[in-house]
Symmetry: C2
Subunit: 207 residues, 2 copies
DNA sequence: ACGTGTGAATTTCTTCACAGCC
DNA sequence: GGCTGTGAAGAAATTCACACGT
C-alpha cells in the first residue's frame, strides 16, 4: 500500500478476475486478446488493455496475449506465484466449511492452523489434517509459523477484539466473515465476505 | 434494473452498509448524522448525504437523521421490508454451512428448500428444518413455493448449466459461490462470493 | 449554531481512436 | 490485416462549499 498505491485499487481488484478467465481460456488455445478476454468477463477491450498496461507490456501487436505468459505475470503482480500460509480463527459452521474447502490450497493458500475459544472443539481434527488448537496458542502459532493472513470467522461481537490481537501478533491481511467493519491500522489489508449484503443488493432489483 | 437503473449501482451497493452501520449506531441514541455515519464506515460525510439524497430527503437540518426512520426507508428501498424465500442448490460443504447459518433468516432471508443431485444426501435433514430434496423436484419446488432467489453452491463445472435451469424455472436472483462467471439474461441479478478472489486481492499489498 | 441537500468543481475511471509494430 | 499500448476525450463518481431550514 506504499509505492504500490500508484495503481488504483479498482484495477488491482480486477486482476484476479483476469486470471480466472485465463485459466478457462487456456483450454481453447495458447493466445487470447483483449476483445476475447473482455467479452468473456463483460468488460470492454480497451479497459483490459489499459489495466494490463499499468503493469507492463504483456501483449504483442497483431497477436494478442500469450495465455501462459500473461498468467504468470499477473500471478507475480498479485504475489501469488508462491505459497501463502493462513490461520483460521473460529471453527464454527463457517470455519468448518472453510477447513473442508479444497479451493484454497488449490490456489496456493494453505490453512496451516485453526484455533477456537471453545474448549470442546480444541483437539478435534477436521479433514484429517487440521487439528483445532486453543486460542491461547494464537500468538505462538502465528509467530513460529510466520503466518501473515488470517481468516476470521468468529461471532460479530468478538471480531474487532480478535482482529486487534491478530494484528498485534503480526497478521497483515484479514479475510473477515464477520458482519462488522473492522477498525485497524491502515497498513492491514482487510476483505469482507458477507452474503447478506449481497442478497440485499440483489433484492433492490427484484419485484 | 429498469426504471431503477437511473440510480448508479455503486450507490445501491452502499445501502446495505449504511443499514448495517445504523443497526449498530442505534444503540447509542436515536439520531445520527452524515459525519458520524461516514466516520463509522470510512466514507466522507458528503458522500453519505449525496447517496441518500438520491432516494429522498430523509434528514433534518440541524439535527441529522432519525435512525429508526432512516433504517425503515433504506429497507423499503432495498425491498427487504418483507420476507424473501430462497432455495439452496447444492448441499456439499458450503451448502451445509449455509443451512446452519442463522444470519440469513435473522435478516428475513429464509431458506425454504434445499436440493442436491447426490442421492445419498436426498432425504437427510439439516438443522432440524430443511430436508434435502432431489434436484428433479427443482422446478416444482420453485414454482409452488414462488421462490425468486437461489443460492448456488454446486461445483464450478455444473454452475452454468444449473443456473440456466434456475432461470428457466423462474429464479430472478442468484447468489453464486461457484468460481465462474455466469452468462445469463440481463434481467437476472447475480452476485458472486469467492474468497479466493478476495485473498488474491489482499496479497497484492503484502510482502 | 448545526447539519442537510445540492449545484459546481474536482478527481477518478472508462472509452475512443489511432500510431506503430507484428 | 490484426491487435497492442496510450494520449486525449468523455463519462462517472466524489468532494467542495454554501444557501437554507430547524
Amino acid at each position: 500500500m506504499d509505492k504500490k498505491k500508484e495503481i488504483p485499487d479498482i484495477i488491482v481488484a480486477r486482476l484476479p478476475l483476469y486470471l480466472r478467465a485465463l485459466n478457462i481460456l487456456r483450454e481453447k488455445g495458447n493466445t487470447t486478446n483483449s476483445k476475447e478476454l473482455g467479452e468473456f468477463l463483460g468488460f470492454s477491450a480497451a479497459q483490459i488493455r489499459k489495466d494490463l498496461s499499468q503493469f507492463g507490456e504483456f501483449g504483442k501487436q497483431g497477436t494478442g496475449y500469450n495465455i501462459e505468459f500473461l498468467s504468470r505475470q499477473i500471478e507475480t503482480i498479485l504475489n501469488i506465484d508462491d505459497d501463502w500460509k493462513m490461520i483460521l480463527v473460529g471453527c464454527g459452521n463457517i470455519g468448518h466449511a472453510i477447513m473442508n474447502y479444497s479451493g484454497f490450497s488449490r490456489n496456493r493458500f494453505h490453512i496451516v492452523a485453526a484455533v477456537d475459544s471453545n474448549p470442546e472443539l480444541v483437539g478435534k481434527t477436521v479433514n484429517d489434517v487440521i487439528g483445532i488448537r486453543s486460542i491461547d496458542d494464537l500468538q505462538q502459532i502465528i509467530q513460529t509459523e510466520g503466518i501473515q493472513i488470517a481468516m476470521l470467522t468468529v461471532p460479530a461481537a468478538e471480531a474487532q477484539k480478535m482482529a486487534e490481537k491478530l494484528v498485534e501478533y503480526g497478521i497483515k491481511g484479514i479475510l473477515s466473515y464477520a458482519p462488522v467493519l473492522l477498525n485497524l491500522p491502515d497498513d492491514i489489508q482487510i476483505e469482507y465476505i458477507d452474503p447478506v449484503l449481497s442478497l440485499q443488493h440483489i433484492t433492490y432489483y427484484l419485484k
